[in-house]
């Protein structure tokens, strides 16, 4: 009975793919409305599923949603399931997709294709979050690659074809690495099944795990923007149209982190233990490096792009703490960064760039945007505060948990992560100052008058911004909203494998 109600949440997946087809069939003018209604429907389904999960999670933290044979000769099945972690990310995807549609309300160029690709991408992402069968997982993972390429290459801005190709190749190489490891695991386990639950309970020989774990982990971590494989992220984010960079930073990077957490870590717990310190180090390097580079950027969007690298470093570090607090923090951080980065990219790409047609901080400064765009300024200040990890916003809880988790295992890394938080404050305040408040009060009058004829902020933008800000604030003020979802997931077999492996 319970399971039937939980099926609701699968509609996020079906709605997205059906919506993509629907958008192609409807006339171009209706495309955005159709996309919005699809996104809102998935959001409703996600909320319904999440609340249903809350009520059963105590008894059944792992809910099987669908299971039927697909390609029996290779042991591949259509096996979908959800736990607190995947539901959290589904919620995030649903929020980001609604906001993304709202922020691409002004897409007039080939809108049908835009929204069809957009919904296909979303559908692939949902599919990854539900997949338990590894073949299915990789299918959805790769389905998400091609729409990204076209979204950036057709609707993007700065060096869009380069950024799109780089992103596509990095994603594909990452998935090829993971696929190689997964296939090897399949072969070593006897070649009967691709079911993650069964493979995770297979005792792979340690010798095998030592090289298979980094293969699969790095494959996924490329998409999570782990240093030094992060270079696709800033160029991709900058080249992408607003909605695509929101999705890239908000959701697609989480795809990689989710792959690490769901596939690489439980499959090879021994290899994980062996390598955890190394990858935690890479995570810390990512935090510091991303923050330092962000501090030096002159392009507004690059600042946000590199801040994503820094924030995703926290996720990697949280995963590598191998304790419950750190893992929960990592999932929280995925949610939090998804919402905040989405908002920041929306401010930069849609609200500022579409009106001023520049992202150079040196040109934005003299415009004194806080006068002409008060709403945008307020949104950016709030989002910036959230990004810095100020109490009251989701980022605070998440980063605090990660630092606490890291402190238990590897104290000096916790210190470095704390330094990263300070640097985040530095680059956020710097960009806030440079982009919105200019160089002082003696601004020239003519630039100010230029700004007087810019378009007002439209209702979709306001709605989207309020939606994302509200999400971050809600979680920040009442972390239990999300923690009640995530905490039960720590009892599922796939997470228990990780925690036990570290304890023993």
């Amino acid at each position: 009975m319970v399971v039937e109600v939980m099926d609701m949440i699968l509609w996020t997946l079906y709605f997205s793919f059906l919506g993509a087809v629907l958008v192609l069939l409807l006339p171009g003018r209706a495309a955005k409305w159709a996309a919005l209604s699809v996104a809102v429907a998935t959001l409703a389904a996600a909320f319904a599923g999440a609340s249903e999960y809350m009520s059963v999670s105590a008894q059944a933290p792992w809910v099987t949603l669908a299971k039927s044979p697909w390609i029996p000769s290779l042991g591949i099945s259509w096996h979908l399931a959800a736990d607190g972690i995947s539901i959290t990310l589904v919620l995030l995807t649903a929020l980001a997709s609604v906001a993304g549609v709202l922020f691409s309300w002004n897409v007039a160029h080939r809108p049908k294709e835009f929204f069809a690709l957009y919904l296909t991408l979303i559908g692939g992402v949902y599919g990854v979050f539900f997949s338990v069968d590894l073949f299915l997982f990789m299918v959805f993972y790769e389905i998400a690659i091609i729409p990204k390429y076209f979204l950036i290459a057709v609707w993007g801005s700065t060096r869009r074809e380069y950024g799109a190709m780089k992103l596509a190749l990095y994603s594909f190489i990452g998935s090829a690495l993971s696929l190689a490891g997964i296939l090897a695991a399949y072969a070593v386990a006897g070649g009967h099944t691709f079911d993650l639950l069964e493979l995770a309970s297979y005792p792979f020989p340690p010798q095998f795990q030592y090289w298979a774990f980094p293969l699969v982990f790095v494959g996924f971590a490329i998409l999570a923007g782990m240093w030094p494989f992060h270079t696709w992220a800033p160029t991709g984010h900058v080249a992408a149209p607003t909605a695509a960079s929101m999705l890239l930073a908000g959701v697609v990077m989480k795809l990689g982190a989710y792959g690490c957490l769901r596939v690489a870590m439980p499959l090879f717990p021994i290899g994980l233990e062996e390598w955890s310190l190394f990858f935690a180090g890479l995570g810390v390097v990512g935090i510091i490096y991303g923050a330092l580079v962000a501090l030096a950027q002159t392009d507004f969007k690059f600042v946000i792009g590199y801040s994503s690298v820094s924030h995703m470093g926290f996720v990697i570090l949280g995963l590598m703490t191998l304790n419950a607090v750190g893992l929960q923090g990592a999932v929280m951080q995925m949610f939090s960064h998804g919402v905040i980065a989405g908002l920041l990219f929306a401010v930069v790409g849609r609200m500022v760039y579409d009106r001023t047609h520049t992202r150079e901080l040196s040109e934005l400064g003299p415009m004194q945007l806080y006068r002409s765009m008060p709403f945008v300024t307020v949104v950016f200040v709030l989002a910036g505060l959230a990004s810095m990890g100020l109490p009251g916003f989701s980022g605070f809880v998440a980063e605090l948990m990660i630092v606490v988790g890291a402190w238990r295992g590897i104290p000096w890394m916790a210190v470095m992560a704390g330094l990263g938080i300070l640097l985040a404050a530095a680059y956020t305040l710097r960009v806030m100052q440079l982009a919105f408040f200019g160089y002082g009060d003696n601004s020239s009058e003519n630039s100010h008058s230029d700004m007087s004829k810019i378009d007002a902020i439209s209702w979709p933008e306001k709605t989207g911004a309020v939606l994302l800000l509200a999400a971050s604030l809600c979680v920040g003020l009442r972390p239990s909203l999300l923690l009640d979802l995530i905490a039960p997931a720590m009892n599922t077999p796939l997470v228990q494998v990780i925690l036990k492996g570290a304890g023993s």
Partner: protein, 486 residues
């Protein structure tokens, strides 16, 4: 077995020959009446379709499983299903040709297509070296002529010339190798050959025979470094012929050779000790596969002509399929045949799309595809399906094909690192391939051309593209259905 049974066993082939005769008469009559070439094309391709339908029906209904002495004809279920695939590819080729081939010898074109398909039919159902050689030559010689069918175009003649020369050398190599095999074993029956070779010590003669057979094989399937004819032949030949060479001839070739090698040369498997376990054909196949994957994919990167690009990608795909050949002795040729069939489908479709573009723009360069999404959305979406399937993107068939191949090679026993390296290399090169496939799709979807006119598709071509795209998608979504019959 009496002659009645024999005729029944050969009913599909017989029907095809009869229809070839009908086409000759009908077209000759129409030509003498001085009818328009378009009408003659329509009639001939219609008859070709009818022939395919008839042959397909007789495959399903009439042909009994049979076995002639000496393995002359051994018809199996898999063979019959593959013949069905050849028929589908033949009819697609015929429909593509109907709108695009420029020639006065219209009847002859379709007759030669049919003859070539008959050669492939025999390739699929024989387990005898003599029959295999004759069938291979029947299929090839018809294709040499077809490649040079555009008599106004020097490139077509040159393509035919190169295809012929390399094909002839391949045939000589193969025949010499087969003659040595015959000398060693005293039989032309592949099963008998396999039995005697399996407990024969390695000798220089056997090694020579293996190398020669493999070389002939590599020429036929265009595996590097024996692939040099392929880019020229694909580019110069009429597009429909290139489609047929790339698809049907590849399916039949791989099916024949995997049978010959697994049954006739049961050499040693790749073992812990490494690559060079003579007289194993496998070490040679590994080398060919590695060369093909690297050379094909790297050479494709800098191509400007889409036909040449597809040719180099065909070389690369031959490398992937050789992995399937390697896995076949242990795990059956299932993975290989799935890959070959879905690859053939995607390739025929891709060449069909090239034919449509070439007809309207007179060029097959990459920039002729610019803005295809505006000019013909249907064509663009079908092209995307074919190209993405070749690149191995889910949910299209190419993804599962590659996945299955790599899973199969990894599943082979022995802890030899070689198979891991091979699978790793295959995955790495398929990342390279994504780049040039995306170059095509970039032209199709991203680049926008202001002045480009729309491309009109004639109905047969539309059907071919639609059906092939649907097939590629369906085979990717429900691979089990295809796996069950292969």
């Amino acid at each position: 077995m009496n002659y009645g049974d024999l005729l029944r066993a050969f009913s599909a082939e017989t029907l095809l020959v009869l229809f070839a005769g009908v086409i000759a008469f009908a077209d000759g009559w129409l030509a003498r009446k001085g009818r328009a070439e378009q009408l003659r094309h329509q009639i001939a391709s219609g008859l070709l379709l009818l022939a395919c339908a008839g042959a397909g029906w007789s495959l399903v209904r009439v042909t009994p499983p049979c076995m002639l002495p000496d393995g002359m004809i051994v018809s199996t279920d898999v063979g019959i299903h593959l013949k069905g695939v050849i028929l589908v590819l033949l009819s697609f080729t015929g429909l593509i040709a109907a709108g695009t081939v420029r020639t006065h010898h219209i009847g002859e074109f379709y007759i030669l297509l049919i003859l070539s398909a008959i050669g492939m039919f025999v390739m699929l159902s024989t387990e005898n070296l003599l029959m295999a050689f004759v069938a291979l030559e029947l299929a090839s010689i018809a294709l040499y002529i077809l490649a040079g069918f555009d008599k106004k175009d020097v490139r077509s003649a040159e393509a035919a010339m190169k295809y012929f020369l390399f094909g002839g050398v391949a045939a000589a190599f193969l025949l010499f190798g087969l003659s040595l095999v015959y000398g060693l074993t005293g039989s032309l029956d592949v099963r008998v050959v396999g039995r005697s070779l399996s407990h024969m010590p390695a000798s220089p003669l056997l090694l020579t025979a293996t190398v020669m057979v493999m070389a002939g094989f590599a020429f036929k399937i265009a595996a590097a470094p024996f692939h040099l004819w392929a880019p020229d032949a694909y580019e110069g030949a009429p597009v429909s012929v290139a489609a047929f060479v790339a698809s049907a001839s590849k399916v039949a070739g791989f099916a024949l050779f995997v049978k010959l090698l697994t049954v006739g040369f049961p050499g040693t498997f790749l073992t812990r000790n490494g690559l060079w376990d003579a007289p194993s054909w496998m070490s040679l196949a590994v080398l060919l596969s590695v060369f093909s994957m690297i050379w094909g994919n790297v050479a494709a990167l800098k191509q400007k002509s889409v036909k040449r690009l597809l040719a180099y990608s065909a070389v690369a795909h031959a490398g992937y399929m050789l992995i399937g050949v390697l896995a076949a002795p242990k795990l059956g040729s299932n993975a290989l045949l799935y890959y070959a069939v879905t690859y053939a489908l995607a390739t025929v479709g891709a060449f069909g799309a090239v034919a449509a573009v070439e007809k309207s723009c007179g060029s097959d360069k990459l920039d002729a595809f610019a803005g295809l999404m505006r000019r013909s959305p249907f064509l663009a979406i079908c092209m995307a399906a074919f190209i993405l399937s070749l690149a191995g993107i889910p949910p299209l068939a190419g993804f599962f094909g590659k996945f299955y191949l790599f899973a199969a090679i990894l599943k082979m026993d022995g802890s030899s690192l070689c198979r891991f390296w091979l699978a790793g290399l295959a995955l790495a090169t398929s990342c390279v391939s994504l780049y040039y496939y995306l170059q095509i799709l970039k032209q199709v979807f991203v680049v926008e051309k202001e002045d480009a006119d729309t491309i009109g598709l004639d109905t047969p071509l539309r059907w071919v593209l639609g059906l092939a795209a649907a097939g590629v998608l369906a085979a990717g979504l429900f691979p089990e259905a295809l796996l069950r019959v292969l």
